[in-house]
Symmetry: C2
Subunit: 245 residues, 2 copies
């Protein structure tokens, strides 16, 4: 494969800044991260990333990158940390990449220019996004071979410090969860209290007492009670709720 059509150095981007998005979803009592696998030979996994155009707000760049991979707009998105270590460059990654992909660039001009772009040290601005996993149709970028959801507890080896970025995103989420719960979009439109509880238990990796959890959530006053949900199970049907808007 060739990089002809991927030449960030030609575009009007700010240099040495990347945006890395940790896109979080929830299903099956697991927090999932949307992780692309790159097209190159060798198993390279990298967070959905991108650059900032000269005339673009940083937050808008993050929204754009998120939209490209998920097709979603109006997603909950939060800038949580800057990763700015000096040795934070792609050299190791690129060495491995070019060793495994000798034919990666044929045109020497492109090679030199893109090599210069990519071997520079990057400062990364970390964002995390919370999405309704059922609404997302993951989109590959031109550099992606595939893109899929991974359990956050079972992330493959990733390039550079991307595993650390994911873990810091989870820490930030834990800190913010309660105070911003109604903004969160990890659940479908309607849901039962049990489902919220399972979500909380997954995020914090601990269990909550059912009856107290129910009260705590209801007393937050952010839920609107809807009809009951009859599943056919031989027990009392739970109410459905949605977030007040």
């Amino acid at each position: 494969m060739e990089l002809k059509n991927y030449a960030p150095s030609k575009l009007n981007y700010i240099h040495q800044i990347t945006i890395d998005c940790v896109i979080l979803g929830y299903s099956n009592k697991e927090i999932k991260v949307l992780v692309p696998k790159l097209i190159f030979n060798g198993d390279f996994f990298a967070l959905p990333s991108g650059f900032v155009f000269q005339d673009e707000d940083v937050n808008d760049a993050a929204k754009r990158i998120l939209h490209e991979r998920t097709g979603l707009e109006n997603v909950y998105l939060e800038q949580f940390q800057v990763f700015g270590q000096a040795k934070r460059n792609s050299t190791t990654f690129l060495d491995k990449l070019t060793a495994l992909n000798p034919d990666i660039v044929s045109d020497q001009n492109t090679a030199a220019r893109e090599h210069e772009w990519f071997t520079k040290r990057f400062i990364s601005i970390g964002y995390y996004a919370l999405v309704d996993i059922n609404k997302v149709v993951p989109q590959k970028s031109s550099l992606d071979q595939s893109i899929s959801w991974f359990n956050i507890k079972d992330i493959p080896e990733m390039i550079m410090d991307h595993e650390q970025i994911i873990m810091e995103a989870r820490n930030a989420l834990r800190v913010h969860l309660d105070e911003k719960i109604s903004a969160f979009k990890l659940l479908p439109e309607t849901f039962t209290i049990k489902e919220i509880q399972e979500l909380y238990e997954t995020i914090y990796e601990k269990e909550f007492v059912r009856t107290n959890f129910q009260k705590k959530i209801l007393e937050m006053n952010v839920l609107e009670r809807l009809e009951k949900k009859y599943t056919g199970a031989k027990n009392k049907a739970p109410y459905l709720y949605k977030f007040k808007s």
Copy 2:
């Protein structure tokens, strides 16, 4: 005045990234911010700022900038937010500056190069620092006419969005205060509980009940009780404390 000796474009800095430091101190029941006034004609106030060297950690750059202005090392320093609006450039500031300072650069090469450096759009990484105001001997940089402490409630008009950056720093401090007991970095080596209380009241702009505050602080288990402090006042002498290390 001339800019001959200040030519960031010549140095090996990362482009389009600045670090802005909100240096916070405390005295006289006021939170103070260390604000330099620039050497140019016209009243230009700007946060202590700087750039990141190619081979330098972002956090280290912040420490360096802080050290330059305060002479202090091992200061409490926290990265709190990235300011990344696209229209966040110095154009307005530079227009005003050059209008008021027509002789600012004599050498046309320098002028052009530095102009290009400064008119680009910058992404700023905001840090706040908490310092013992008595230990700081504020240092002017080569661009500063003066540097002094301002009550955070009485900040002069500043360039670009620097006033907003200060307010966001205060918000971040309020959120972090208890959990990181960072407040103690604002006090001298030894202090009374009354002094901590006044500090808290200043930061949160609200009053606390003396007796309960005392208990809360002592129960944090981070203070070591020292000798009494005899001031000559005709009342019981309070204990001095220091922060356990």
